[in-house]
């Protein structure tokens, strides 16, 4: 039962083969059994989950259910859940019970989904390994000595081990796609402005975007149908007509033009990873797609530009954590400055402090032009590279990450090396484009992710291409041993 996709569970619930209460118990028990090994969850919410499940069963009995009604899932602990601890992986918010629900939380609740917990993450979504969590690192279920990726590593690990059929994630520089790749699941980062950021704790506001983490593209489309759309509470939310993301899943992919940037297949990338990705692209070619070599000349500048823009926005966003209105406060402050400085120093972890300091520096008087303005100009160059490419091709493909999952503690003392793990994902955020990572094989017994990048609002095509791949391959059906009881 626990290996079923959302689409399959939806049918079983709808025809009465299983109840939401039974399903919720089953997944909750799996979470309880395996969380001590994987540390995917910061909080489990069995009481509210059982209540939602009973409500869902009542709706199903009255035939008032939708496609997601009664299906258990989990939220990344960055989404505010009213009355349920929302820590963002930080000591700063260890005691935080939000007074409201994020729009994504409300929408999935309204769709009848059953939230059974909040998943672990790098503190304030800053990291690529989920090692920067106040609650300890999450493990990769394919090899528990490896990281699950990050920052949405709790979500990717839990879906990969089939502890839950789906989870939410957020992606500022790759935080949905990179952990999806490293754990062998499907993760979609939508076009900037498609999914509301209201109640999603801000890291870098011009880059952050929420999205689904699932076994299949079809499941991602089902979640997108529930969470995408205009939200008056998010001033960067785009006013567009609602889209049915499931409509194009079965379209023919014949004649689709696929661009392969030479920069994504360079000598720095793990050869076994490249081999898997080339095999995957070969399957698209067999299905009638046209493969075209392209150039994204400024790819290597995306990491430097990102590590100016993201920390700058973070230093501004995280200034709200001051020990006054909510969150952690230090003991016995001697004056207001001491209250601010010690609350922040004691409440934030090392990576967060590092990025706040970088951000404060690049925005400070005399340095703004050399760093922040320069990075914003490079941001345009990176976006323009993509726009030139999309004149020749429909989508761009390559590996999601330059190598499979690295070891726990392997890069913890070398921030710059850790940042380079995001080389193929950050440029997509800088340009605001949508991209999906799907399972495409294994290298050294660890999952490899294929990234498909499209132009603005091309999510239906990305999901179509991913779905068609999943009709002819079974990489997305593989699950790690050791989690099958």
């Amino acid at each position: 039962m626990y290996t079923h996709t959302l689409a399959e569970l939806s049918k079983l619930l709808n025809d009465g083969s299983i109840s939401s209460v039974e399903l919720t118990k089953l997944y909750y028990e799996r979470c309880q059994t395996y969380n001590s090994e994987l540390n995917c969850f910061i909080t489990l919410t069995p009481e509210s989950a059982m209540e939602s499940a009973r409500t869902a069963d009542a709706l199903i009995a009255k035939k008032q259910n939708g496609p997601l009604t009664g299906i258990p899932f989990a939220h990344k602990d960055i989404f505010c859940t009213q009355g349920t601890k929302t820590s963002c992986g930080s000591k700063m918010l260890d005691n935080f019970l939000p007074p409201y629900d994020a729009t994504v939380v409300k929408k999935l609740g309204d769709a009848g989904m059953v939230c059974i917990g909040k998943t672990n993450m790098d503190e304030f979504a800053m990291g690529s390994s989920t090692e920067n969590s106040y609650y300890g690192p999450t493990k990769n279920p394919w090899d528990v000595s490896k990281v699950p990726g990050g920052s949405s590593g709790g979500s990717s690990s839990a879906v990969a081990a089939r502890l839950i059929p789906a989870a939410t994630g957020t992606d500022t520089g790759g935080s949905i796609r990179q952990p999806a790749a490293l754990c062998g699941i499907t993760g979609l980062k939508p076009t900037y402005g498609t999914v509301s950021r209201f109640g999603m704790i801000a890291f870098a506001s011009s880059l952050d975007q929420g999205g689904p983490m699932t076994q299949t593209a079809e499941d991602a489309a089902m979640i997108m149908n529930a969470i995408a759309g205009f939200d008056v509470n998010d001033s960067t939310s785009l006013e567009r007509e609602n889209v049915d993301y499931t409509t194009n899943l079965n379209d023919s992919i014949e004649g689709v033009r696929i661009g392969l940037p030479k920069q994504y297949f360079s000598a720095d990338v793990d050869p076994k990873t490249i081999e898997q990705i080339k095999d995957a692209i070969g399957l698209y070619e067999q299905a009638g797609a046209k493969i075209i070599d392209i150039d994204l000349p400024n790819t290597s500048l995306s990491i430097p530009a990102y590590y100016v823009v993201a920390p700058a926005e973070a230093s501004s966003n995280l200034s709200r954590f001051d020990g006054v209105r909510f969150g952690y406060r230090c003991d016995d402050p001697v004056d207001l400055l001491d209250l601010y400085c010690r609350s922040r120093s004691e409440g934030f972890g090392n990576e967060v402090k590092r990025r706040i300091m970088i951000g404060a520096y690049v925005l400070s008087a005399g340095y703004y032009d050399a760093y922040y303005l320069k990075a914003q100009k490079i941001r345009r160059m990176i976006r323009d590279d993509f726009q030139s490419a999309f004149k020749e091709v429909d989508v761009i493909m390559g590996p999601t990450t330059p190598a499979p999952a690295f070891g726990l503690n392997e890069l913890l003392d070398d921030p710059v090396q850790m940042y380079l793990a995001d080389i193929f994902t950050v440029s997509v955020n800088l340009a605001g484009l949508p991209a999906i990572s799907i399972p495409a094989g294994f290298a050294s017994n660890l999952p490899v992710g294929l990234q498909i990048i499209g132009n603005y609002f091309s999510e239906p095509s990305l999901l179509n291409l991913a779905h068609q791949f999943q009709q002819t391959t079974d990489w997305h059906k593989k699950m790690p041993e050791g989690f099958r009881s």
Partner: protein
């Protein structure tokens, strides 16, 4: 790129972070490494290029200046470390 001790202290103050005297060399190394990586940007000529702030170049939407929220002070202050009579309590600012 090297930052001297004074620069590290200034950055920490701007960020409202207290740092330990002994940790300054670590910050110098870590921030220095990151800034060295960031300085790859310097080699690029960007004189003719406009900065890009919003990926889709859309201005943030404004809303009419009307009241949409009721007062929820009690609910919102429940999460505050210290309050009194509806105010947030902080150490004395003015003697």
């Amino acid at each position: 790129m090297t930052l001297d001790r004074k620069q590290i202290e200034d950055i920490a103050m701007l960020a409202r972070l207290s740092i330990k005297e002994d940790d300054i060399p670590v910050h110098q190394t870590e921030l220095g490494e990151i800034l060295k990586m960031v300085e790859q940007m310097k080699s690029v000529d960007t004189d003719a290029i406009e900065p890009l702030a919003h990926p889709l170049e859309i201005d943030a939407r404004l809303r009419p200046d009307t009241i949409t929220e009721e007062n929820q002070r009690e609910k919102n202050q429940k999460m505050a470390p210290q309050t009194q009579d509806g105010y947030y309590l902080v150490p004395k600012v003015i003697e």
